[in-house]
């Protein structure tokens, strides 16, 4: 009995070799010295970490949840939001070396002898009071120009998909760190205990695709309850969630109670915190048996909503369906809703492929913003649309205006954000006349993460997790909040 009452933290098995040695070396002297060495001890700065309770924002947040419309494969900024008339005038000329300035190339164009400039296949027009430039590929997004904030000066260090998308998700090009959604779940907790706080929805266009892997929604070294849950299209959104035939809900309850008591015993024995996570996840799954089918069921959505998102939204697994689903999940308190739409990797046949990709996402993305706006959800939901890097202003492969391609380009690309404390109706940042280098207000991925966290009420320098002897942040050791973007 006594054994049972022991707190898991005091479990003798929890002392490992490291603990032992560190205990050994601690004396009054080293403690005193240690306190002298804390660099911020007397600094008039933010409060100590321990004062900040987890699961609560550090300051009053503008955004309570995020819907991230990730365009996997990297849509070209030159055919979306970054209008460059110079490329039309100098079409076919080589990109001057002084502009490229030593930028490394991917293996796909490093053998190319020429780098002929290629203008956009789509025309550009200005929209809204802000006069934002949007290409003809995106007529619906153009209609919400005054609700969104276009950033044309994003930049990254990665030049290939996997490191770039990993960088965007986790703040590091090497995999293994927790991703944005997991950090938000860790920092802010769940709003609805019947649904995971981090949900992933994927869809795929006809364009050239790159893979998506579950590591992109992994919780890394954070507790596994912060991991993203992939909701699949179709009858079983979550695999193995439904009970087998012949098992009633009360049978299930009984089973769970028994398993849970066994697990608790095991937890007392080993002190492994993952066991607690496992118990919590079984319970969550039990409640999700009711909540998930409920949230996924769009049969009660009015005709006007279906029309708004487009008929596609009734076909499970399409981007439009995922957008509608994203709104429903946000309404139900999911903290971070991550959409991926594959097929934006246009190394060739860009004009046709991109038109197709745009047709997949344009209307539904804009409809989502409008729908959130009319429901007052844009007040506290942040929507983000964008890919992992940009595309080159020169043509990849044969120089053919009807069928050109663009290679990867890390130095400048465009994304947009809407709602959640971000200034609407502005275009931020600027690239040079070639659309190659940023000349005004660059926003690095770390800055983007810092700003995202700021809108959620989190100080990116304060939300940390200690692992393998040091504290980790989403922004690691960099990142500044871009105040100009905040409403």
């Amino acid at each position: 009995m006594e054994e049972k009452n022991k707190l898991p933290d005091e479990n003798p098995l929890k002392v490992n070799r490291r603990h032992f040695f560190s205990q050994l070396s601690v004396g009054i002297g080293s403690l005193a010295l240690g306190s002298l060495l804390i660099p911020d001890l007397f600094k008039n700065g933010p409060e100590a970490l321990t004062v900040r309770p987890l699961g609560i924002p550090h300051f009053a947040p503008k955004a309570k949840r995020v819907i991230y419309l990730f365009q996997a494969g990297a849509p070209s900024q030159l055919e979306t939001f970054d209008y460059k008339p110079t490329l039309e005038k100098r079409m076919g000329e080589d990109l001057p070396d002084s502009v490229r300035n030593g930028q490394r190339l991917t293996g796909m164009t490093s053998g190319q002898e020429r780098f002929p400039l290629m203008p956009s296949a789509a025309k550009f027009r200005q929209y809204g009071k802000s006069g934002a430039w949007v290409s003809d590929f995106f007529p619906h997004i153009a209609r919400i120009a005054d609700d969104i904030c276009i950033i044309r000066s994003m930049h990254t260090e990665a030049i290939n998909h996997d490191p770039a998308i990993t960088f965007f998700q986790t703040g590091s090009q090497q995999s293994g760190r927790p991703c944005m959604g997991s950090w938000m779940s860790y920092g802010l907790g769940s709003e609805n205990k019947n649904l995971p706080s981090f949900v992933v929805l994927t869809s795929r266009g006809k364009g050239n695709s790159q893979g998506l892997y579950s590591k992109l929604w992994s919780s890394g070294f954070l507790d596994s309850k912060h991991q993203g849950v992939l909701l699949r299209a179709g009858k079983d959104p979550v695999l193995y969630l439904n009970d087998p035939e012949g098992i009633s809900r009360s049978d299930k309850r009984h089973l769970l109670d028994q398993v849970s008591s066994l697990n608790k015993l095991h937890h007392v024995e080993t002190g492994d915190d993952e066991i607690e996570s496992r118990i919590a996840q079984y319970e969550m799954a039990y409640r999700m048996q009711i909540s998930v089918p409920d949230v996924m069921d769009i049969s009660k959505e009015p005709e006007s909503t279906i029309k708004l998102y487009g008929e596609d939204c009734q076909v499970p697994g399409t981007y439009a369906a995922n957008c509608l689903q994203a709104r429903r999940l946000a309404e139900n308190g999911v903290r971070f809703i991550q959409l991926y739409h594959q097929g934006w990797d246009q190394h060739g046949n860009l004009p046709n492929e991109m038109a197709g990709q745009a047709r997949d996402v344009d209307k539904a993305s804009a409809a989502l913003v409008l729908d959130l706006k009319q429901r007052g959800m844009l007040e506290d939901t942040l929507v983000i649309w964008g890919g992992e890097f940009g595309r080159s202003n020169y043509c990849q492969g044969n120089f053919d205006p009807k069928n050109y391609g663009r290679d990867h380009h890390p130095r400048a690309f465009s994304i947009w954000m809407a709602g959640g404390g971000i200034k609407p109706g502005i275009t931020y940042g600027e690239t040079d006349e070639f659309g190659y280098n940023i000349i005004k207000n660059p926003v690095h991925i770390n800055d983007f993460h810092a700003t995202l966290m700021h809108t959620m009420g989190l100080d990116h320098e304060q939300l940390t997790y200690k692992y393998q002897g040091r504290r980790f942040r989403l922004t690691d050791v960099a990142g500044n909040v871009v105040n100009d973007l905040l409403a």
């Binding site: 009053a60 590929f137 209609r143």
Partner: protein
């Protein structure tokens, strides 16, 4: 008891420093020290710690009756004189001496010269024991006040203020832009060094007249021309520039604060301009309105305390109660539809009704009793009762919610009777109101009565038509090679 002094050199040093110092004080207005001598003044902040500590030790020893080591007193007195002299040299540089500096200088001089007298009495054994103790007490008072005034000069008037006591006054509804906004920024960031006591660069920033008069680098403010105004030039220099203001180590102005100063100067830097004189499109208007919006955490500091255990107790699988930020007592409550709806989930929240600032009851079959609880949440700023069976009568009970900023009532059965309610809530900023029974006339009258209120009445008209229409992405028409 005579102290055993046998260091004649110390006597000479003390005598000569004293004479030099008294001479300085007497002929202050005739003194213009060469650069290198003036530079010695910079050592004042370093030296001043020595006489304070050494003299205090000596005085304590005197009081407890222990013999003062002669060398201690000697060094204490010499350091007091050196501090006074360097302080005098530093003071010369500041030109216009304010009250604080005046008192600091004479009290400092008092410390040094009293210490010399004490040294003399101890040295010669003339002073009665009791008189010497009295002298010590006087010294403590002098050191205390001189030190405090010195600290105030360096660190600002409120450097000893308790945490939280530095409250700024609220900006009134229609502020005078100079007095309530510009002056507030200057007070916060600049006045610490540009005040009558410490007039750096001969610039006073405590009044409108002085600000326009400028300082030694010329016109601080040129009305109508921010680009030529020294203040804007210095504020916008790169941080590492020596001329950048505020100097390194002081907290800089926020970009919004700089922009406010810039726009105010551009508009003529007047001290009679009020907020409602501004053109509606003027950038200054939004900037100031933003500044007038209080930090929510400050606003919520007045809410009654609520314990974590209470919140935890009321939390359930379908009701999520969280603090809005950090340790604030403002609470957000969200309820999701449980498999079996039970009004008690909401009615049980009465103990924390004063703490609920955000309440989300969207899509729940709430009745009058639940709305009664909502009406008891007098601090409510954010209410979501869209897609509920709320009625006009029930809405009327909510009229006490005077702090309401945002209300979602779309997709409900409310009608025109609720419209006067929306007009009454003076803090209401955003209203989501589509798919109700409210008539177009009533909606139009609401919009004209409250032009600042943002009323969302759904996706209609052209926008709706554009989205409902068939795919409108045009066929591609690739650019031609010129």
């Amino acid at each position: 008891m005579t102290l055993n002094f046998n260091k004649r050199w110390a006597d000479y040093i003390i005598l000569s420093l004293s004479i030099f110092f008294v001479f300085c004080l007497l002929f202050e207005s005739y003194i213009a020290p060469p650069a290198l001598v003036a530079w010695l003044g910079q050592w004042h902040p370093v030296l001043l710690h020595f006489p304070i500590v050494l003299l205090l030790i000596a005085i304590v020893l005197k009081f407890v009756g222990t013999r003062i080591p002669p060398m201690l007193l000697t060094v204490a007195v010499i350091s007091a004189l050196l501090t006074a002299i360097t302080g005098f040299l530093l003071g010369l540089k500041s030109g216009n001496k304010g009250d604080l500096l005046y008192w600091h200088q004479w009290l400092g001089a008092g410390v040094a010269l009293t210490a010399v007298v004490w040294y003399y009495l101890e040295r010669t054994g003339h002073g009665a024991h009791r008189a010497l103790k009295g002298l010590g007490a006087v010294l403590i008072v002098f050191i205390g006040f001189a030190g405090h005034y010195g600290g105030t000069i360096t660190h600002g008037e409120d450097f000893l203020a308790l945490p939280g006591s530095r409250q700024e006054e609220k900006i009134p509804d229609n502020p005078l832009i100079y007095e309530h906004v510009v002056n507030r920024i200057l007070k916060r960031r600049c006045v610490k060094c540009h005040n009558p006591n410490k007039t750096k660069g001969e610039l006073l920033m405590t009044s409108h007249d002085h600000l326009l008069k400028g300082g030694e680098s010329g016109s601080t403010v040129i009305p109508g021309d921010p680009d030529k105004s020294e203040i804007i030039r210095r504020l916008t220099l790169p941080d590492d520039d020596d001329d950048h203001m505020p100097p390194e180590g002081e907290s800089p102005l926020t970009p919004d604060e700089v922009e406010i100063l810039e726009r105010w100067i551009a508009l003529g830097a007047s001290d009679t301009l009020r907020l409602d004189h501004l053109d509606p499109t003027e950038a200054l208007l939004t900037l100031i309105k933003e500044m007038m919006e209080p930090d929510p955490l400050e606003k919520w500091a007045l809410l009654p305390d609520v314990a974590d255990s209470t919140l935890q107790h009321l939390n359930s699988d379908y009701v999520t109660i969280t603090r809005l930020a950090g340790t604030t007592n403002a609470v957000r409550v969200v309820m999701y539809m449980p498999p079996e709806y039970d009004p008690n989930h909401i009615l049980n929240l009465r103990p924390i009704s004063d703490n609920i600032v955000e309440f989300d009851l969207s899509g729940l079959p709430i009745g009058e009793r639940e709305l009664g609880l909502v009406a008891a949440c007098t601090n409510l700023e954010w209410l979501e009762i869209d897609r509920t069976p709320v009625t006009d009568a029930a809405m009327d009970t909510l009229n006490v919610l005077s702090k309401l900023r945002l209300l979602k009532v779309y997709d409900t059965e409310i009608g025109d009777e609720s419209v006067p309610l929306f007009m009454n809530w003076e803090h209401l900023e955003k209203l989501f109101l589509w798919n109700t029974r409210i008539s177009e006339n009533a909606l139009a009258s609401l919009k004209s009565a409250k032009p600042d209120l943002s009323v969302e009445d759904g996706i209609t008209g052209d926008l709706e038509a554009f989205f409902v229409a068939e795919d409108s992405i045009p066929k591609q028409d690739p650019p031609q090679i010129p």
